[in-house]
């Protein structure tokens, strides 16, 4: 296990400087929109919260954290406050493979296509799309979270944003629950799959959903993706511990202890595999983490895009 203080200080410092946990300029992380036609003005803002775009960087950092956990380097980091360059910043950006960045961009583009096919009107402005700050909240850096959230919300308010479409459970929870509670700013927030009205007979597939903690338990909306899939004639084979009683994939521990994260992951994967079907994730953290186990997993948006 790493000393949480070092990890929290590093993340908080990166967020202060670059507004994201990796200390990489947003212009290097968020590029999917440059090759995708999206309206720049409108009534409802698509707010990705950048988390899908982060997945290749998360994979790279945790790869190194995993390698050095409980080694002399981890001890050295603790006492000298030395942070190896490959954990954050432009060195991390340069070492993260372009192929993985493209895969992450494809997920966001699929979501854009699904919304367009459902005749949902929305616009996108990259300058308004920021990280929500939820990791600071989860790690207990409440002051840091509030400061960052105020920055993000103030920008949205200045731009007159009232309605928002999100794409992942962490950002959704932050905007729907934490922003009103801790900084007194409210928006009308919907996740993309709440807005889908698509029917198809091409389905026929059977899958197992891994409900993320925030959608399943905190926001109690597990029925929504199941209805979306039912309309596409895709069958969900349930496992024990799903919906509100879902079991965490272990992802949230990956920055402090990749070993612990893997232990929790292995147990969850075994549960999910017991259904014998391909696994569907709907959270960038779950998706990246489940992939590490080598199991057959894809994002909900990829399955929907393929079926319509």
């Amino acid at each position: 296990m790493y000393n949480p203080k070092i990890i929290i200080d590093l993340i908080a410092d990166n967020i202060r400087k670059t507004r994201n946990p990796f200390g990489i300029p947003k212009s290097m992380i968020n590029n999917w929109w440059t090759e995708t036609p999206v309206r720049p003005e409108g009534d409802t803002l698509l707010f990705t919260g950048l988390m899908y775009q982060f997945t290749p960087y998360i994979e790279k950092t945790t790869h190194y954290l995993e390698r050095y956990e409980d080694t002399k380097l981890a001890d050295y980091m603790q006492y000298s406050k030395y942070i190896p360059k490959f954990i954050a910043g432009t060195v991390l950006a340069l070492m993260t493979p372009g192929k993985e960045k493209k895969k992450a961009d494809t997920i966001v583009r699929n979501i854009v296509n699904i919304l367009a096919k459902s005749n949902v009107e929305f616009y996108y402005k990259p300058e308004l799309d920021d990280y929500s700050g939820i990791l600071l909240y989860d790690l207990g850096d409440q002051e840091g979270f509030v400061r960052h959230a105020e920055f993000v919300a103030a920008k949205l308010k200045r731009a007159g944003v009232r309605k928002i479409i999100t794409v992942d459970p962490h950002t959704t929870y932050a905007l729907k629950v934490l922003y009103p509670k801790y900084i007194g700013e409210s928006f009308e927030v919907k996740t993309y799959f709440e807005l889908i009205s698509l029917r198809s007979k091409n389905g026929g597939a059977r899958v197992t959903l891994h409900d993320p903690c925030f959608y399943g338990r905190y926001l109690e909306m597990s029925d929504v993706p199941r209805k979306v899939l039912a309309n596409l004639e895709i069958e969900c084979v349930e496992v024990i511990n799903s919906e509100q009683a879902t079991n965490c994939c272990g992802g949230p521990a990956e920055s402090v202890s990749p070993k612990l994260s893997k232990e929790v992951l292995d147990r969850r994967v075994e549960e999910l595999q017991s259904a014998g079907q391909p696994i569907i994730a709907m959270c960038p953290i779950c998706l990246g983490n489940l992939k590490k186990s080598g199991t057959d997993v894809e994002d909900l948006s990829s399955l929907i895009a393929r079926s319509i």
Binding site: M1, P4, D138, G140, D141, Q142, C213, R217, G251, L260
Partner: protein
């Protein structure tokens, strides 16, 4: 020897920790927690109840094992909100680090 601090629970309220006294130590949370680790989170809640501030500070890093997954909160028969208590303890510790 552990020093017991009766004002500890009060000190923690500022960090959103205010349901610890609802817990009756049944252990449901520890049985269901995916960490499967030394009576976690029940043990930490017990430290609050008995005012074992020093004991908590000695073991503070363990709080970051918690995934904030909310399964314990979902199953707690007393609605003591164990998951949020752990998050509140993290806030307390971070604030202590920042001040020191």
């Amino acid at each position: 020897m552990t020093l017991v601090n009766p004002e500890f629970a009060e000190e923690l309220e500022r960090f959103g920790v205010n349901t610890a006294l609802d817990c009756f130590n049944c252990g449901t949370c520890a049985a269901i927690c995916p960490l499967i680790y030394e009576h976690f989170p029940r043990k930490m809640i017990r430290y609050i109840q008995v005012g074992a501030r020093d004991r908590l500070l000695e073991n503070d890093k363990e709080l970051w094992r918690c995934l904030h997954c909310g399964l314990c909160t979902y199953t707690c028969p007393r609605e003591a909100d164990p998951g949020e208590l752990i998050l509140g303890l993290k806030r307390f510790i971070v604030s202590n680090w920042r001040r020191s």
